[in-house]
């Protein structure tokens, strides 16, 4: 989406690109602000159109409540402590799982990336487990861990683990042989090469994995809540659904969407900071 809007914002792309390279940060910041407003604008227009379709009766109000009433409900919900505790549960389940999954995947991925024989031995196991959707394990988790926060965290951790692991293995293999031979020649020991060379080389891959895993983790958390009854926004949707509260269903779903947006917005600056040295982000 960002690439698309950037492209439209700067029709004369090549000269603007050349100018930005010499022009420093001012131009760069402006280039980023512009699409942001466009995004807000496009969201507003979309909501207005849906509202119009609802008011004119094109969309049946029984299945599609008015945007205005959904937003009004959401406004009322934000004044309620229960809503925030649901948000807290969803976020905790998503992020705690992401953290645990990443904490296991990164060392394991680096190890497997550096030891091709171990990786070959484990590959069938990984390839067997990886395609199993986390949600498919929901019944198993409910039986063993129950429907508390812990159960959801097991699922989000698993989904994050596979995503980050596969990319970390690839990243650990992306080490430049010239850089490695240089450090070997200069007597940098193997263990030190792991965190001085292999980890930074793999970082762009790891960060990409974590970014994707963060979105997926939130989806898995909400799904687990929805189907398994773990506390969170997903459960709120289910509760509203069971009491035929259509406006409530939409309001909670909308809140979950906003949460996904926020997670992405928070990850982007962290990613930029970690990878400022990377060729794709250099400002010179």
């Amino acid at each position: 989406m960002t690439a698309e809007t950037t492209g439209r914002a700067l029709p004369a792309s090549p000269p603007a690109e050349a100018g930005a390279r010499g022009g420093g940060t001012a131009r760069k910041t402006r280039r980023r602000t512009l699409p942001w407003w466009r995004q807000i604008l496009s969201v507003t227009v979309t909501l207005l159109v849906i509202q119009l379709l609802g008011v004119t009766g094109v969309l049946s109000r029984s299945s599609f409540p008015l945007v205005s009433s959904v937003l009004a409900r959401l406004g009322r919900m934000t004044a309620d402590g229960a809503f925030w505790s649901s948000v807290g549960s969803s976020v905790t389940q998503a992020l705690l799982g992401l953290a645990i999954g990443t904490a296991v995947a990164v060392p394991l991925g680096i190890l497997l990336g550096r030891l091709p024989l171990a990786e070959q031995a484990l590959r069938p196991v990984i390839e067997f487990l990886r395609p199993i959707p986390s949600v498919a394990l929901l019944p198993l988790v409910i039986l063993t861990a129950g429907i508390g926060l812990g159960g959801a965290v097991i699922l989000t951790a698993l989904s994050s683990l596979w995503l980050v692991l596969v990319l970390t293995i690839r990243g650990a293999r992306a080490v430049d042989p010239v850089a490695e031979q240089t450090l070997i020649s200069f007597g940098v020991p193997r263990s030190a090469r792991v965190h001085r060379l292999v980890l930074p080389s793999a970082l762009p891959f790891i960060v990409t994995g974590v970014r994707v895993a963060a979105s997926v983790s939130l989806i898995v958390a909400i799904t687990a809540e929805l189907l398994g009854g773990m506390p969170g926004l997903g459960k709120d949707v289910q509760v509203s659904l069971q009491s035929s509260d259509n406006v409530g269903v939409y309001a909670s779903t909308f809140a979950a969407g906003v949460l996904g947006l926020l997670v992405n917005l928070l990850i982007k600056p962290a990613e930029d900071r970690l990878l400022s040295w990377h060729a794709s982000r250099r400002s010179v």
């Binding site: 850089a179 031979q181 070997i184 020649s185 200069f186 010179v284």
Partner: protein
């Protein structure tokens, strides 16, 4: 070892008498899957010497250098650095590769790149910092230590790689076509920088290049390699006086003669005539 003891008359023609050999290569052989690349290379580099190794493109110069650095296993022959047989990467060896953009770590500052190898030496942090700063200063980058390598020009990046090797204080410095990726003007500057550093620090350098003029301009001796399977075609002493000068030295008749004989040794008869 015993060969250095007898009087000069017994010593081999190319070997300066009474000097310690730093690098001794004897019958080095290496191939890839039955295809021989190095076919019995023997050479010596003595303490304080600047030896240029020159050979045609693709002749296995880089393979040879990686064998010397202990980065590639070889089939037969021996390599000794400072008297110790090379079985893995020797601690007393510094290296400068052609591809500075790949051999410097982009996530570290220039200063941290130079300091990194020193962390694993038996020297104090303070001493390491002093050695790194001194090395950066000697290549003219004292003010650029905080920058990232990729913020510098190609020539400056190669200076960082040189500084990293200097700070390491190796017994032998191996350079693998270090100036092949920079422009002509920068190359001239870097050649003169190397000559200055070499004479100031009494270093021992094995310098691999495919550029004949560069080999003659820098070296005390030239080792000319053959095409694959690579052996040594000829070893020549460069009897040009030092200090050398890019214009004056290269304008001498002796330089032209040496150039012609290296060309001939490498088998470029037509180019030598033209």
């Amino acid at each position: 070892m015993a060969e250095t003891a007898p009087p000069p008359a017994v010593a081999p023609a190319a070997a300066p008498a009474g000097r310690t050999p730093i690098l001794e290569v004897d019958g080095l052989r290496k191939g890839y899957g039955g295809d021989p690349v190095l076919d019995g290379i023997s050479l010596q580099v003595f303490e304080g010497e600047f030896v240029s190794v020159v050979g045609p493109s693709g002749c296995g110069k880089t393979t040879m250098l990686r064998c010397l650095a202990g980065l590639l296993p070889f089939e037969s022959g021996t390599v000794r650095i400072d008297g110790a047989a090379v079985t893995g990467p020797p601690a007393t060896l510094g290296i400068v590769f052609q591809d500075y953009s790949r051999s410097l770590l982009p996530w570290l500052s220039v200063r941290d790149n130079v300091r990194l190898p020193l962390r694993y030496q038996a020297i104090s942090k303070k001493q390491a910092a002093a050695q790194a700063d001194e090395a950066l200063e000697s290549v003219g980058l004292a003010a650029d230590g905080h920058k990232r390598p990729w913020q510098l020009s190609g020539g400056m990046q190669q200076r960082v790689a040189i500084a990293r090797a200097l700070a390491y204080r190796p017994r032998l410095l191996l350079m693998d076509e270090p100036f092949a990726s920079v422009d002509a003007q920068t190359r001239v500057e870097l050649e003169d920088l190397m000559l200055r550093l070499w004479s100031e620090r009494a270093m021992t350098i094995a310098f691999v290049t495919h550029d004949i003029d560069e080999a003659i301009y820098l070296g005390d001796r030239i080792v000319a390699l053959t095409r694959r399977p690579t052996g040594i075609r000829e070893t020549m002493t460069v009897d040009l006086p030092r200090p050398r000068d890019q214009i004056a030295t290269k304008a001498t008749e002796r330089f032209a003669e040496l150039r012609a004989s290296v060309f001939t040794a490498l088998g470029h008869h037509e180019e030598a005539a033209g």
